[in-house]
Symmetry: C2
DNA sequence: TTGAAAGCGTTACCAA
DNA sequence: TTGGTAACGCTTTCAA
């Protein structure tokens, strides 16, 4: 191989102003007159090594700024301590918060997050091949859309995978999701309590599980309550502008008391459009509710009633699943539903508690 | 080592239902009756190997689903193809978009993004030690705050590092930043054109370079134009609520024609507070401008005049720096300033063009 | 162009 | 508890 050099000479013979090559365990061992195995043991928590030897090694290591090379460790252990996080849109404000919490929780237990930002346009398999080559220990999929179950199985290739807020039946993929049906029913109940009788639903991406569950949960419950479904806008995207457009269509019908939007960003667009283009007052003329409880929903301007996703719980459960026996995840894929919480705010005429 | 097994036996002797262990280059070579080196060469773009041999290997590899193990390659090449991305707050909506574009551009040239989400609370060195152990090829720092130059130098340890929107003097760190001074001056000029004479500035985090540059650029320019600085709110955070609070303080003074907020999220909070709490009309009573041009700024409800950061350019330049000779980055740290664009919208009384 | 073999820096097995 | 040493799966040098 190229870089050999005499033991005491660290620098490249060439003039590369590259930072010094980091010291290795073998060098450290030689300097201390111990075996290289000892060095490895000193850095391995449960290893059988005398306390004083370990201390001596760690102390000296700190002095010469030695740190075990994680790459070599990965190769040797066949474990990377890297979790692949597959994301497809970070524009929906719900996701950045989730990703942030997730990566921090993982970091806290020594796991790093490798981000895979997939786009619908290009070749998915190509984008995901890195997921396999990098030998990530597990995969967390946050993208509500795009990936088919089979593509995902291919990409994870026998690695534990956990989907967040997306349920795929008939596969060996685990899921952690908010109880969307419960949430949607809670919104329906709340609308009913607030006196609405003619209600509308605005879908997000119609084929996503989040949307389907929220939609059917809502529609079912309003029927049970004897309310009328005055409108149902189908199959747009989860975006502010889609929310505006849907709201205007509904307002034009003049036969709706309350609108449930599939998520907050839609609802926020809806509120703006209702107030500024349709000339409706929210909540006086029409009630509006969303889903997620993104930070914006709490802003005084929107004051949006919504169903809060249990983000912290979701993160906790996902991290626990990964931290625990990961091979158990492979043996039996589990789907976990977590309860959220109805947050009543002014957009449905509720008097918000002090928050 | 433990997992040995006879050549044709792939599974663990124990009952682990773990997915089959992936095939290695050596096995592939043996199956094809070629050398393992040949397999390696087949997957190495410029390698000297006969075209037909390569083709035969690649074809067979595809059949048996072989992919080179990236970890082994890292160890052997001392190159990981991983870029560390250091982030500290993903709540400011400007960042998710940037991170998304960045990671996609990197992916396109075969580089993966390892996310380091640092929190101010806990021990920074501990959080960043992984950055060193994982041998990332380069580091991109998106956090406007938190890290001192020296901590950063320690963490990157001789690796190329690029700061986005943060300029650190006197170090060997490269920077790519928006021309904040130019932007702030453009806002001042625009205010002047719109007839404002008494203007206020609302700072973000006062010690950040983005804030300092925007502030001094603005203050200097309004002086040149003979305008009055009617108020200057110092040292809050970059948040919606900080914007609200600052706006109310300024409105209470009743002596301000226009407010320049250090970024859009502040400005958006400001607009809401002015309209809904202070009873001011924007832009009729007071003009408001921000900085960044986040998606929300374009929403009809806000219609915020702002200075658009050249995000695509920033990403392009950063990726080029990394793609190019990275050791050059180490020899001479460069600071690159990119021009943005004034986006005139209704919050300063401008009639927006069709966008 | 090809193959053999020496690393890369760890971990884990085996004796001592 | 320790040290020696064989993997881990590649890349790259060196000869052929």
């Amino acid at each position: 191989m190229r870089k050999q050099g005499s033991p005491s000479l660290q620098r490249e013979p060439s003039g590369e102003a590259f930072g010094r090559k980091p010291i290795t365990a073998r060098e450290l061992a030689r300097m201390l007159g111990v075996s290289q195995s000892a060095v490895s043991r000193a850095f391995t928590p449960g290893a059988s090594i005398a306390a004083d030897l370990r201390e001596r090694i760690l102390k000296y290591a700190a002095e010469v700024d030695y740190q075990p090379n994680a790459i070599a460790s990965m190769l040797s252990k066949s474990r990377t301590n890297i979790i692949g996080i597959v994301v497809s849109d970070m524009q929906n404000p719900f996701y950045p918060g989730l990703i942030e919490k997730l990566s921090r929780s993982l970091q806290r237990i020594g796991l790093q997050s490798l981000l895979f930002n997939i786009t619908k346009g290009s070749n998915l398999e190509e984008q995901l091949s890195a997921l396999r080559r990098y030998n990530v220990d597990a995969v967390i999929v946050i993208s509500a859309t795009i990936l088919s179950g089979s593509t995902l199985s291919w990409a994870t290739e026998g690695r534990p995978a956990i989907l967040i807020n997306r349920v795929i039946e008939d596969t060996n993929l685990s899921c952690v999701a908010c109880n969307n049906v419960e949430g949607a029913r809670a919104i329906a109940d709340h609308f009913h309590r607030q006196g609405a009788r003619r209600v509308a639903y605005v879908a997000g991406l119609s084929h996503t599980t989040t949307n389907r569950e929220r939609q059917s949960g809502f529609v079912t419950r309003i029927a049970e309550l004897g309310m009328t479904l005055s409108a149902q806008i189908e199959g747009r995207e989860y975006s502010y502008y889609a929310g505006r457009k849907a709201a205007l269509e509904i307002a034009a019908g003049k036969n709706t008391d309350a609108i449930f939007f599939a998520n907050d960003i839609l609802a926020i667009g809806g509120i703006d459009a209702l107030r500024e283009e349709a000339g409706c007052r929210v909540p006086d003329d029409i009630l509006v509710a969303g889903f997620d409880d993104i930070p914006m929903a709490g802003w005084p301007h929107y004051n949006l009633t919504t169903f809060r996703q249990p983000v912290d719980e979701i993160v906790r459960v996902v991290v626990e699943m990964i931290e625990g026996d990961t091979s158990a995840l492979l043996r039996a894929a589990t789907t976990i539903r977590l309860s959220g919480e109805l947050i009543e705010r002014r957009s449905t005429g509720a008097e918000p508690d002090a928050e």
